[in-house]
C-alpha cells in the first residue's frame, strides 16, 4: 500500500467532485418539510411505491445474476474478436437513453410486437404489469453486472481452473469452489451496481410499464408524479426522494458489510 506518486494538485478537482456529489443532496435534505415528513413517507402511495421498488429491483438483480454470470463467463472466455462483439452488444443498453430501451421493449412485447402477439395468443400480457417493471429494470441493469463480473474473471485468468482440473475437480466443482469465489469481489460490486441501477430506473419503466400506483409505480415514478404536481405538494416528492436515498444507502451498507469469508482474500 502507500500513496504512490500522484500529482498533489489533483486533490483540488477530487474535492470539487465530492462536493458536486454531496452538496445537491444536502440541498434536497434542506428542503424537507419536517412537519409533514412522517405523514408523507408513511402515506399509502409512498409505502406501496417503496415496496414495489425494493421487490422489483431485487427480482431484477436476481434475473441479472442468473443471466449475467454465464454471459460474463462467455465474454471472459471468448477469443478477443468474439468477446469484442459480445461486449459491444452488452454495452448498448448502457449508452442507450433508457426511454429508447422502453420503446424497444414495447415494440417487442407490446400488443403489436411480434413476441407480444405470440404471448397474447396464450393469454399473457406483459406491458403495464409488474413483470414489465422487472423486465425494464433487468434490461438496463444487466450490463453493469456483466461488465463487472467479466473484468474480475479476466483478471483471475484460467490458471487456477487448470490447477483445479489437474487435481481431479469437475467443471461444476471448479465453478463453485474456484471461479466464482475468485470473482467474488467483482460479483459483489456488479450486484451492487445492478441493484442501484434497477432501483433508480425510470425511463424504460415509464414507457414500457406505465405509472399505475401499486402495480408499476416504483419510487422514481412516484417522485416524478409527486413533483409534477398532480394535486400533490412538492413536499411529498422531497420526502419520497429522501426515503429512496436512505433506503439505497441502507442496502449498499448491508451488502458492503456482508462479505463471505471466501472473498476476503485478494
Amino acid at each position: 500500500m502507500g500513496r504512490g506518486f500522484v500529482p498533489q494538485v489533483l486533490l483540488v478537482p477530487a474535492v470539487v467532485g465530492i462536493a458536486f456529489l454531496v452538496v445537491p443532496l444536502t440541498a434536497l435534505v434542506g428542503r424537507v418539510d419536517m412537519t409533514t415528513l412522517w405523514a408523507d413517507i408513511t402515506s399509502p402511495v409512498a409505502v406501496s411505491a417503496l415496496g414495489l421498488s425494493l421487490g422489483t429491483a431485487a427480482l431484477a438483480t436476481l434475473v441479472c445474476l442468473v443471466l449475467g454470470v454465464p454471459l460474463a463467463l462467455l465474454l471472459a472466455r471468448s477469443g478477443s474478436r468474439l468477446a469484442g462483439i459480445l461486449r459491444a452488444v452488452v454495452t448498448v443498453p448502457l449508452v442507450l437513453p433508457p426511454m429508447v430501451g422502453g420503446v424497444a421493449l414495447l415494440f417487442l412485447l407490446g400488443r403489436n410486437g411480434w413476441l407480444g402477439q405470440l404471448l397474447e395468443g396464450v393469454g399473457v400480457r406483459i406491458p403495464f404489469t409488474t413483470t414489465a417493471v422487472v423486465i425494464a429494470q433487468s434490461f438496463v441493469a444487466l450490463p453493469f453486472l456483466v461488465l463487472a463480473v467479466e473484468g474480475a474473471l479476466r483478471a483471475t485468468g484460467t490458471e487456477y481452473e487448470r490447477a483445479a482440473a489437474a487435481l481431479g475437480a469437475g467443471r461444476w466443482r471448479i465453478l463453485w469452489r474456484i471461479t466464482l469465489p475468485l470473482a467474488g469481489p467483482g460479483l459483489l460490486a456488479g450486484l451492487v451496481l445492478c441493484f442501484a441501477r434497477a432501483i433508480g430506473e425510470f425511463g424504460a419503466t415509464a414507457l414500457f410499464a406505465g405509472n399505475a400506483p401499486g402495480v408499476t409505480q416504483t419510487m422514481p415514478l412516484a417522485i416524478y408524479t409527486a413533483f409534477n404536481g398532480a394535486g400533490v405538494s412538492q413536499g411529498t416528492a422531497v420526502a419520497l426522494s429522501l426515503l429512496l436515498l436512505v433506503t439505497s444507502l441502507a442496502v449498499l451498507l448491508l451488502v458492503r458489510g456482508w462479505r463471505p469469508a471466501s472473498t476476503v482474500a485478494r
Binding site: A163, A166, A169, R266
Partner: protein
Amino acid sequence: MAPGEYGGAMSAPALDARVVVRRDGFVLDAAISAAAGEIVALMGPSGAGKSSMLAVISGLLRASEGHVSVGGETVSSPAVQLSPQRRGVVLLGQDPHLFPHLSARDNVAFGMRVSADGGRAAARVERRARAERWLERVGLSGRGHRRPAELSGGQQQRVALARALATEPRVLLLDEPFTALDPATRGDIRAMLAARLPAAGVTTVMVTHDIVDAAALAARLIVLEHGRVTQEGPVRDVLAAPASDFVATLAGVNRVPGRIEAGVWCAGGLRLPAAGIADGDAVALIPLSAVDVVLVSDAAASGAVASWTAPVVRLEATAAGARLRTADPDIVCDVPIAAIAGGGLAEGDTVRLRVDPSDVRLVVAGYNGASSPRR
C-alpha cells in the same frame, strides 16, 4: 498410501507415452515411459519440447499423433482424449498456483477423494485430518490455517506438493518446480522431495535444468533435444557417456570430435595416444577438471601428459576463478583464482593446456553407448 493403490497391472509401465506435436515448424516426436514408482528426470535445452510433453501427458494439450497410457489405460490417442480431471495425472509447475482464497489446509484437501459413507460432516473431518497429516509430511504442521499469500515461496511450493500428492495421483509431473526459489530453499525442497516421493511411491516425471535435481532425485534421465530423445538411461551412465554437447555440458565434460590415425587421436593442436583403436572418427570426452592451464611457460611437461597451446576465445569469471574457452580444439576448462590473481589473462591470449590422457575417454563415432575407456 501404498504404491500401485490404483490397481492396474503392475507389469505395465505406470506411464507410457509416445507424443508427436507439430506446431509452427517445430516437431516434437518423443517417447518416454516410467515404471511404477519410478522417478524420471527429463532434461533438455529451452524449447526442446519438455513442457509440451508434460502438457500432452497431463491432458492440457492434444497431441497431433501418438498415445499416452497411464497404468495401462489409454488416456490420449487419436481416438481417445480423456479430460485432465480423469487422468490421475497432476502437473506441478514453477508457479504453485495455490488457490488464493483457500487456506493451506483447504488447498491440500481440495483434490482429495474421500468416501462419503459417513455423511458430509464426517467427510469434512476426514479431509481436514488428512490435509493436516500431509502438511506435517511436507514440514508445515501448524500452518494449515494460513492463506497462500501469508506463506513464503518455498512454503507455497510445499503446500502445492502436498496438494498434488494428497490426490494420490497415478503420475506426478514436475515442471521446474524449483526454478523460482533461492538456492537454500531449493535444497530444502529437493531434500523434502527425495524423502516424500519414494514414500508416496508415486511415478514421477520431473523436468529440470539443474543436473543436481536429476542426480539427487531421479533414477533415470531422458534427454530431449530439438523435439527428440537423444539419450536416456540411468543418470550416471548418461553423464558418463554424453552423446551430445548439451549432456556434456551438464556432466562438466568437453566433448571434442577428432580423428584417429595410426594410433594417435588428433583434433586441432591436441594429440592423444589411441593405441589399439582402429582409424576413424572418434570423440574425446575430457572432463573440465582434467584440463590444467599452464600459465608459466614450463615447456618441460612430462612425456605422459598431452600438452598444447590454444588461444583463449572467452573468459568468464566464476565463483572460484575463471572459466576459459579455447579454440582449436574447442575446450572449456576452469582456472583457479590464484592462477589469475595478477590479472594477466585476457581473451585473445594464448595459453598452454595439458591433460593426462588417462582422464580422457575416446568414443568411436557412431557408437553412443558405453565406450571402452582407453587405457
